[in-house]
């Protein structure tokens, strides 16, 4: 057992922290949030030049051949910086599924584009009933000789407005059991019939409604196997859940640091408020949640990275994450007082993201049910 990062991972962390504090201070975060694009192309290219987009891809696809655990460290730093933009969509929801399930030709074509920052990807999975189960997939892809025609509405699709490609999870067989009729298609967003509307969200990220109206996709754009895509989708959800947890580890670690510093500096009754036991105990509770989330998240990330079975560990981490983040941000606001509930202070960036992260890729109830199953209940 060893809970420490490797020397190489510590270096990656330091590099990411230095880069993001330099290039992505909160003034920039705010500017990006308010922009239509939701990312800065120059910053995106710089990240690609640092090798971030290709971090986990093999070298032959222009990557650095690092592990998911290494990527976790990077995601934690992005969470700490509240970095907006399509990194998560492109790498976690697009690139890694392609690497996992794509064929050689698909990987050869698309992974180098991702690694070099030339292509933005995303995943069109959820629909208006906002569930992560297989029965909720109603967008249909109908075969017609060598092409498929996709029709239907996807909702809560991150960064679809700027994506070059999306992976669309569609139903290809109505007669089979729900989990036996799902196929993943790679769709060029410039295809006729693809349209999007950007939604306004609590986290300030760009989630979209994507409408597929008679969108024609060549058969060779199937990722993985026809009708057997659901197991890949489950892997995508599992990985994305862990990746969200990693971002939130960075989020609440920073919230704790900000809050402790504030408690040391802010004076009332002629003494720092951090000298009052009530405030100290709030901070101690926050620190416990921070360490807890860190270990339970990295346990899941480590297992996933090693390719070990991790259904239970992922479920535990994600179920814990949303509620731990709520406790931490609630106490942070209480300690910061009124300044913390203004747009002048940075805390809102963290609180808004944490709330969204808790419900994305499965909320606590969703994962408690999985834990119950894993317990044999």
């Amino acid at each position: 057992m060893d809970l420490a990062l490797s020397e190489e991972q510590e270096m990656l962390r330091k590099m990411a922290r230095d880069f993001l504090s330099d290039k992505c201070p909160k003034t920039v975060v705010k500017e990006i949030e308010q922009s239509e694009e939701g990312y800065l192309p120059e910053l995106w290219q710089e990240m690609a030049n640092l090798g971030w987009m290709g971090l986990v891809f093999p070298e032959k696809y222009g990557g650095s051949n690092m592990s998911f655990l290494d990527l976790s460290v990077l995601l934690e730093e992005m969470g700490r910086a509240c970095l907006p933009g399509p990194f998560f969509s492109t790498v976690v929801l697009g690139g890694l599924p392609l690497l996992d399930a794509g064929n050689e030709a698909q990987k050869d074509e698309y992974l180098p584009k991702i690694a070099s920052g030339k292509a933005i990807f995303t995943l069109a999975l959820t629909e208006p009933d906002a569930n992560y189960d297989t029965a909720s997939i109603t967008v249909r892809a109908t075969a017609n000789n060598s092409t498929y025609t996709i029709n239907g509405v996807k909702l809560f699709v991150p960064d679809a407005h700027i994506a070059d490609y999306l992976l669309c999870v569609a139903r290809t067989n109505e007669r089979a059991k729900p989990e036996n009729g799902i196929t993943i298609f790679l769709v060029d967003t410039k295809s006729p019939g693809v349209s999007y509307t950007v939604l306004k969200t609590i986290a300030g990220d760009k989630l979209c409604e994507v409408v597929f109206d008679q969108v024609r996709v060549p058969r060779e754009n199937i990722i993985g196997q026809l009708d057997k895509g659901w197991s890949e989708v489950q892997k995508i959800i599992e990985r994305a859940a862990v990746a969200k947890c990693c971002e939130m580890v960075g989020n609440i670690r920073q919230v704790l640091d900000m809050t402790v510093n504030y408690a040391k500096e802010r004076k009332q009754f002629d003494r720092p408020i951090g000298s009052f036991q009530v405030i100290q105990h709030y901070c101690a509770s926050m620190a416990t949640d921070v360490d807890s989330l860190r270990f339970i998240t990295y346990q899941a990330a480590w297992r996933l990275s090693k390719g070990l079975p991790c259904i239970k560990e992922v479920a535990i981490a994600k179920a814990w994450m949303g509620e731990a983040c709520e406790r931490v941000t609630a106490l942070a606001h209480q300690i910061h007082g009124a300044i913390g509930v203004t747009m002048d202070h940075d805390l809102h960036f963290y609180t808004r993201r944490a709330k969204a992260a808790g419900i994305t890729f499965g909320d606590a109830d969703f994962y408690r049910e999985i834990v119950a199953q894993e317990m044999g209940l």
Partner: protein, 390 residues
């Protein structure tokens, strides 16, 4: 990072499970809550000693096995999982042996360590007093020099293992004029000495959980003072880190966890098993989630000790978290049992051996002993996060 145990460690865990399973089959003990602190079984302790499982982490030169704290945590985790009666040796193994090794004289090491290792020294803790709880340094029990001896007068409270201990680790004031932390020494003495009276304290469950220990002109040879005079408070601060460090804070009532899961699988309400009721499934799943979180927080403490650091902030965090979990486990079990939760041992219709109400009441003390959760949060905040005391 590595979140798995080595093959050797897994083998060790299996060896412990095989041993405990066999002891249960032979009828040596029945799994129960709080057995680590209240389960008196000299026979069981002897068997544990024979396997070399007392003093597992002590240096080989003192008769220990020189193994890691991770391994000791594996050992204690399994003892707790099986609800094994380990109270006779738990304290001596966990903290008194370490104090003697770190601070004791060669003579004390030769005298006490082999007795602990053989499973013959049942050592209780004489720390708290009527006027000295969280503020331990204000203790009033006195040890006055008299030739080759100290004469001890005073009273200790909340002494676990009081009814069967044959030794007591005692903190007493040896310099009433010094600042309070600097006038305390620690002793290890036999409880059969004349002038020592032990009176049981009945806890909220009706159990003899602790004892009051009275010292009336007790003559103690000077060789019983551990290490240097007036350094006892510093010895005990170090010891408390180890007292808080273990899985017993998370798993003190683990037997109840397994029992209530089994109960939910086997009991039908409205014609279907409780385990199929979403509300109950989620309550039990939430406990499992909280347990796994606590387990990592606690194993982290073992890693800190193995790195050679005193596990101060980390132990405080694990203990405060762990006892809260154990209390929530008891509360949840009571909710699941509904009306049956009020039936206690001896009653007709009693489910799961009455563990739930016993633990519901008994676990109230978990967040008080060995440092209240409030003291622990003070430690996390001031020493861990650097918040100012003024």
């Amino acid at each position: 990072m590595d979140f798995e145990f080595s093959q050797e460690q897994e083998k060790f865990r299996q060896e412990i499970r095989d041993f405990l399973g066999e002891e249960i089959r032979q009828g040596t003990f029945k799994p129960s809550c709080d057995a680590w602190i209240q389960g008196y079984s000299p026979e069981f302790t002897k068997k544990v000693a024979q396997r070399g499982w007392i003093g597992l982490t002590w240096p080989k030169e003192y008769g220990g096995q020189g193994r890691s704290n991770i391994e000791r945590f594996i050992l204690t985790e399994e003892m707790l999982r099986y609800g094994a009666p380990a109270a006779c040796h738990w304290f001596a193994d966990r903290q008194i042996g370490g104090t003697i090794i770190a601070f004791g004289t060669e003579e004390q090491k030769k005298e006490f360590l082999p007795k602990i290792l053989r499973g013959e020294a049942y050592i209780g803790l004489g720390m708290s007093e009527p006027g000295a709880g969280s503020d331990l340094a204000s203790l009033q029990t006195r040890a006055v020099e008299d030739g080759d001896n100290y004469i001890i007068d005073g009273q200790k409270m909340w002494t676990s293992c009081g009814k069967f201990m044959n030794h007591i680790y005692l903190l007493a004031r040896t310099d009433p004029n010094a600042p309070k932390q600097r006038g305390i020494s620690d002793f290890i003495i036999e409880t059969s000495l004349p002038g020592i009276t032990i009176t049981p304290t009945i806890d909220i469950t009706g159990s003899e959980a602790w004892a009051e220990v009275f010292f009336d002109n007790v003559v103690v040879p000077k060789r019983c003072l551990i290490g240097e005079k007036n350094r006892g408070f510093y010895h005990v601060l170090n010891q408390l880190d180890y007292e808080r460090a273990g899985l017993e804070r998370l798993m003190g009532n683990y037997s109840l966890f397994e029992a209530i899961i089994q109960f939910a699988k086997e009991t039908k309400r409205n014609g279907k098993p409780l385990a199929e009721d979403t509300l109950i499934r989620h309550k039990l799943a939430q406990l499992q989630i909280e347990f796994e979180v606590g387990r990592l927080l606690t194993y982290r403490v073992a890693l800190v000790i193995d790195e050679g650091r005193a596990p101060n902030v980390e132990a405080a965090m694990a203990k405060a978290y762990g006892t809260t979990f154990a209390q929530r486990l008891a509360s949840t079990a009571m909710v699941i049992l509904k009306l049956y939760g009020q039936l206690v041992v001896g009653s007709k219709w009693l489910p799961i051996l009455g563990m739930a109400p016993h633990s519901y009441l008994g676990s109230k003390g978990y967040s008080l002993q060995a440092g209240t959760s409030e003291i622990l949060r003070n430690i996390i905040a001031t020493r861990g996060l650097g918040l100012p005391s003024q």
